[in-house]
Amino acid sequence: MSETQTPERAPRPSIRGRLLAWLLGALVVADVVMGGAAYLRAHQDLDDLLDYQLKQLAFSLSRQSLGSVPVLPGTPSPEPDFITQVWDRDGVLMFYSRPNMAIPMRPRPGFSNMDWNGQSWRVFTQLDGVRIIQVAHPLSLRREMAADFARRAVTPLLALLPLLAIGIWIVVGRALKPLSSISAALRARTPASLQPLPHEDLPDELVPLVGALNDLLQRLQQAMELQRQFVGDAAHELRSPLTAVQLQLSLLKRASDAQERASAIERLERGVQRSNRLVQQLLTLARQDPQVPDAATESVDMNQIARELVSDFEPQAALNQQTLRLDPATEPVLVRGEHDALRVMLSNLIDNALRYTPAHGSVIVRTRRDGPQALIEVEDSGPGIPPEQRLRVFDRFYRVPRAAAEEGSGLGLAIVKRVAQRHAGEVSLDDAGAGTGLKVSVRLPAFAPPASR
């Protein structure tokens, strides 16, 4: 069936071949059993019938006078079917049907089996006062007859076996036809066309298979769709910083004096930085894609990451006259996950907070162990986000309409959410504790190393 042929490969088991072998084998066994049963049954019937005949023969002989019957050999029959012998009271043989078959006289009347002359015999002996009548019959004959009967019962089915084989071959082939139509339909699927396989007219047995395949196709399609959307969004979003850069470059070219040129260069630099940041964040987001398999996970101390990041961001905050403060938990706040991703997540949160916080404002980074969860909070004294927009800010490229805000990529919180989700955590937005401002809380399952238990 397969078109790709691997050389020297053991033949694949085929459903059709197996079914054929098993069905034919079962038929042959059934036929043999039937033949055996027929043999036994026929043998029993023949026993009854022939015993009865032996008895009848003996009785009929006892009723007729043997005067007219020649004492010496009667008409020899070609087959030793029944051998009849008559003795008188003194044991003198008066009559025998077969000259060369002198079966010894049985002393007891009635049926008996005996071996004589290399054959097994069924013998009926009768005493009728004056004579002893003995009728015998070879048991081998009975076996032959029963075997013949059994043979006749078995033969027709065996003769039909080739025909049955052809029939089974065809029927099984027909029944398996939907399989090849499914594989043809599957082969027609491409990343661009992942519509579900048709499942009407399918045999019951194949419905679960096609159902599972359709589930897979649907998941694939969703993943492709997400990817397509992401690429489309990214292309769209890249245009803005690039437009800014191009316009700033035009202004630089037009600049007529040193002061204009300096300010144009400064603007251009900001535009390039912005494009750079957007590309960085797009890459981060793509790496945190749910489709990408997990990187190695390890035990990560969020306290440690927070400490590092706060000291990294400190100069920037100082430059903008903002206060950046760390309020760490007293114990390590351990999380099981990807160190770099968790660092990017917290870095985005702090960066966002500083970006939207005005001069003389403050940003607090807090880590806590909250029961089974690790809690990381970043609180700023910026303008906050109105509750009705808090859900949308997690959308990729969504920017809160704020005139005074520095251009963000619109990806920061999307990255935060994605990383949190990958670590089975969640992100929530609240008003800051005091006055205006935003508090972003990330809750991740805390990790307790086995040794500390």
């Binding site: 803005s240 690039l242 437009t243 191009q246 316009l247 035009s250 202004l251 603007r267 900001r270 912005r274």
Partner: protein, 220 residues
């Protein structure tokens, strides 16, 4: 020539405003459709530069709304959406032209001029009145075949008068055309500019209609 720019991106807005100012336009810049609405109702604009990707209300929806209520200001749409369907939707929604990001500042200026020209019912790129010729692309003026050196304000004032020859423009109207938001207007600025123009082009070129304003004299 006063333009209204509606653009939510700070960097792009800043650069477009700076670039168009260098081209001699007066540019007012708002970041949202709602603010644009207010601006359109209070100031006469020669053209609306509209970014479609606005927060809150989409630029396209706002454009349709404007056209429905009879707003006739020509609109040049700036957008990052480059699909043919988007362009068609934009033009059919009431845009006069469509510029896809990223774009060049010179092209933007040229398109602005083209839209303004078409909107004024002119095909020729030059503004002419008698012996006076203005070239909006280079912002150069010639008077009787000789180039005349004009300041940016003088040029803008002359262009305003030349756009519809015969129309009388009041001092307030001319001020609106010349000065954007936040620019200081000295009380006699228009008179000063007119005075300079008359010195360069001859005293009879610009007539003062008492109580109404200024207009160009009919060519001899």
């Amino acid at each position: 020539m006063r333009l209204l720019l509606v653009e939510d991106d700070n960097m792009i807005g800043e650069a477009v405003r700076a670039g168009l100012r260098q081209e001699g336009f007066t540019v007012d810049w708002v970041r949202e459709a709602e603010q644009g609405d207010v601006a359109l109702r209070t100031e006469p604009y020669a053209l609306l530069l509209l970014d479609l990707g606005l927060p809150r209300k989409s630029g396209l929806a706002w454009l349709r709304e404007l056209r429905r209520r009879g707003e006739a200001t020509p609109v040049l749409v700036i957008t990052a959406r480059d699909a043919v369907a988007d362009r068609i939707a934009g033009l059919d929604g009431g845009a006069d032209d469509y510029l896809v990001k990223p774009f060049d500042l010179d092209e933007l200026a040229a398109r602005v001029r083209a839209v303004l020209r078409r909107h004024g019912g002119r095909a020729a790129p030059l503004l002419q009145h008698g012996e006076l010729t203005l070239d909006p692309a280079t912002r150069r003026a010639t008077w009787k075949g000789q180039p005349v050196a004009l300041s940016a304000r003088e040029y803008a004032l002359l262009a305003a008068l030349l756009e519809r020859p015969g129309a009388i423009l009041s001092r307030a109207q001319l001020e609106q055309r010349l000065y954007g938001w936040g620019e200081e207007v000295e009380s006699n600025a228009v008179e000063v500019h007119i005075h300079h123009l008359r010195r360069k082009l001859g005293a009879d070129t610009i007539r003062n209609v008492r109580g109404l304003g200024y207009t160009l004299a009919k060519p001899e």
